[in-house]
């Protein structure tokens, strides 16, 4: 299904079966009483990746991260980092550093002491620590802040100090728990790109936990979508968005319109899905492994739908509806359209011109159409 995906990344070690994973997670579970926080997860993460664990609260993403740095012990399963089994390695001996969600800066130490803490534990001489701390503070653009206490810094500055501290020991693997969660939107966007650049420059493997799908899409080489302690899908951001493997993933990442239907035609180069919910027979321009009569779902992203007053010239995938609501969002407009079948769908259209003559507005009848490869057929 994912063969025709185009990835912007040059190297894709996960597509190469002979590549050796940097982190190898096998059958890992963590149960808290009857709650299965993490449930039998297998996962390979490769060197140099910026890997995102994406999920809602309680999905087990943070528990998985905590097992990677050794704060939580798995109920079952193994974790290997760089070929070494981590089962009995305490946190202070792992080649892993973590940037905490709360940053966990030591409030009684100044910035320089915080950043140099790990180095001092390794017994590095003072002069060397000082120069390394200077270097790190310069890297995160915090020169001259060494003498400040954490409570004298802004949220963004604390985030930088926490990052510098986590990178001080040149870890092979950096874990980041909601690294941008405490920052406001503008700062978050800036910092995202800085984080990516840093990761590229240093070549450190990053594993990022986040509940923000936009953040995951921007940052990640690959995303693992977690739900109920299991991995729902592990793919590149593009594949997760364009080729979700379940209704849950489709719905979790971005907006989606879902139509339930039954397979009426199942050919080599196309298939058809009779959907009373959409009020038509959906034409899909590629083969899908399914059997006639099978119940399936068609997931269609709002931006992949066109709307027009005149009937478009295409044989398939055209339905009529009435505009219920229009929301102007600046870069695009969002339409809520009631199809004649009764189903309400969401459509977004880019605002290509500043002034539109006679734009589509409330209570107007429109034709809704989409291409034969616009949506995804999902079995579950």
């Amino acid at each position: 299904m994912t063969t025709d995906a185009i990835s912007p990344f040059i190297s894709e070690p996960w597509t190469d079966p002979s590549a050796k994973p940097f982190i190898r997670i096998r059958g890992i579970s963590r149960h808290f009483g009857a709650v299965k926080a993490v449930d039998n997860v297998d996962l390979d993460i490769y060197k140099g990746e910026l890997f995102c664990l994406l999920g809602g609260s309680g999905s087990g993403k943070t528990t998985l991260l905590r097992m990677l740095c050794g704060f939580d012990n798995p109920t079952a399963g193994t974790i290997e980092i760089d070929g070494q089994d981590m089962s009995h390695v305490p946190p202070y001996k792992r080649p892993v550093n973590m940037m905490f969600q709360s940053y966990a800066l030591f409030p009684h130490m100044n910035v320089a002491k915080n950043v140099g803490y790990g180095l001092a534990r390794d017994g590095m001489p003072k002069a060397q620590i000082n120069s390394r701390v200077e270097e790190l503070l310069a890297m995160v653009q915090m020169e001259g802040f060494g003498a400040r206490k954490p409570n004298q810094l802004s949220g963004g500055q604390r985030q930088r100090v926490a990052l510098a501290r986590a990178l001080a020991k040149k870890p092979k693997l950096l874990l980041l728990d909601e690294p941008l969660g405490a920052l406001d939107k503008k700062l978050r966007e800036e910092t995202q790109f800085e984080l990516m650049k840093l990761q590229e420059d240093l070549g450190v493997t990053f594993v990022v936990v986040t509940h923000d799908q936009e953040e995951a899409m921007t940052l990640a080489t690959r995303i693992a979508v977690m739900v109920d302690g299991k991995l729902a899908q592990v793919s590149t951001p593009r594949d997760v968005y364009e080729y979700p493997n379940s209704r849950f993933v489709a719905d979790f990442i971005g907006g989606v319109n879902l139509f339930e239907g039954r397979v009426t035609a199942d050919e080599e180069n196309h298939m058809k899905l009779q959907s009373p919910e959409a009020g038509l027979e959906i034409h899909v321009g590629h083969g899908v492994s399914c059997s006639p009569g099978q119940r399936m779902w068609y997931a269609l992203r709002p931006e992949k739908i066109r709307i027009a007053r005149d009937r478009p010239d295409q044989p398939h995938n055209v339905v009529e509806g009435m505009v219920e609501e229009v929301a102007y969002m600046g870069s695009l407009s969002v339409y809520r359209i009631n199809l004649d079948s009764g189903k309400q769908i969401k459509v977004t259209q880019p605002n290509l011109d500043r002034a539109q003559d006679n734009p589509i507005s409330w209570d107007q009848r429109v034709y809704v159409s989409w291409g034969s490869s616009a949506g995804v057929v999902l079995p579950t």
Partner: protein, 287 residues
């Protein structure tokens, strides 16, 4: 307005009584009722005379009994505070790190002794420590000693009594400061390569300094003026300022000297604390 309430409290229950004591310390003892001469007198020509007698303070300096008692009180208070700290810290840490249901039970146990009269509990220690008391009998029975230990009426008995009595005052502030410490700080320390012991000394301990300071003051200050414990458990050598004060007041009926003793005690206690506060504030300003 809100700040006025503690101010009024301090004025009514601290400053005014202290002023009364201070005034008393400047008067002259007399066989009278009350047993001192009035400070202000009108003589027959209608002239108001103030008599300020600072002789009581010189008297304290003159007699090395008082200086000795002050020093002894300070020493006992200091040693007791250190012992309390060493005993209380692991307890407070264990309570702070226990899960919440156990924690409440443990806190209850710390506070439980307060439900019995303090005096009764000190008398109970006499029963434990005396020559044919529980402790000696137990040790004899176990064969660990063949002669009863003389603990009663020694400094050791005083230390035991004081540490026992004041331990909760050390545990509670320590617990309060330990329990609010962010757990992720210790995880961060471990993550950066600190073993548990190193993490304790570099993170937990320094962050609990406010608790240590509060607990130490809560133990040190009342112990300096402690009267009951040295009187009941200590011997004739255990001379503490509280006892001296008591005997000046009740046995000698010399209220002015007793007041002078109390005033000096207050100055001796308050001045170092104020200096400490000033140093802390200067430190905070510098940071």
């Amino acid at each position: 307005m809100v700040i006025a309430i503690p101010m009024i409290w301090l004025l009514v229950f601290f400053l005014i009584p202290f002023a009364v004591v201070f005034k008393l310390s400047l008067s002259e003892a007399a066989i009278a009722r009350p047993p001192y001469l009035p400070m202000m007198t009108w003589d027959e020509e209608g002239i108001l005379t103030f008599v300020l007698n600072i002789g009581n303070y010189f008297y304290l300096l003159d007699d090395d009994l008082y200086i000795f008692a002050y020093m002894q009180s300070m020493k006992i208070a200091l040693v007791s505070t250190v012992i309390c700290l060493l005993v209380a810290y692991p307890m407070a840490l264990a309570i702070a790190r226990a899960n919440s249901s156990t924690r409440n039970l443990l806190l209850m146990l710390v506070i439980l002794p307060f439900w019995t009269s303090f005096l009764l509990r000190v008398y109970a220690w006499i029963g434990i420590l005396k020559t044919n008391g529980l402790l000696n009998n137990a040790l004899l029975w176990l064969g660990l000693i063949d002669q009863p230990l003389a603990i009663m009426q020694t400094d050791l008995a005083v230390y035991i009594g004081i540490v026992y009595t004041y331990l909760p005052f050390m545990i509670l502030p320590l617990y309060t400061s330990l329990v609010k410490q962010d757990e992720s700080l210790l995880e961060a320390a471990a993550d950066l390569g600190a073993r548990p012991v190193t993490a304790f000394f570099s993170v937990t301990l320094p962050l609990s300094f406010p608790g240590i300071a509060a607990g130490s003051l809560l133990v040190f200050i009342p112990v300096v003026g402690e009267f009951v414990i040295p009187a009941l458990l200590g011997g004739p050598d255990t001379l503490m300022i509280g006892r001296v004060l008591w005997s000046e007041f009740f046995s000698n009926r010399d209220w002015p000297v007793a007041s002078a003793v109390a005033t000096v005690m207050l100055v001796v206690l308050v001045v170092p604390i104020m200096l400490l506060r000033l140093a802390q504030q200067a430190d905070e300003k510098k940071a």
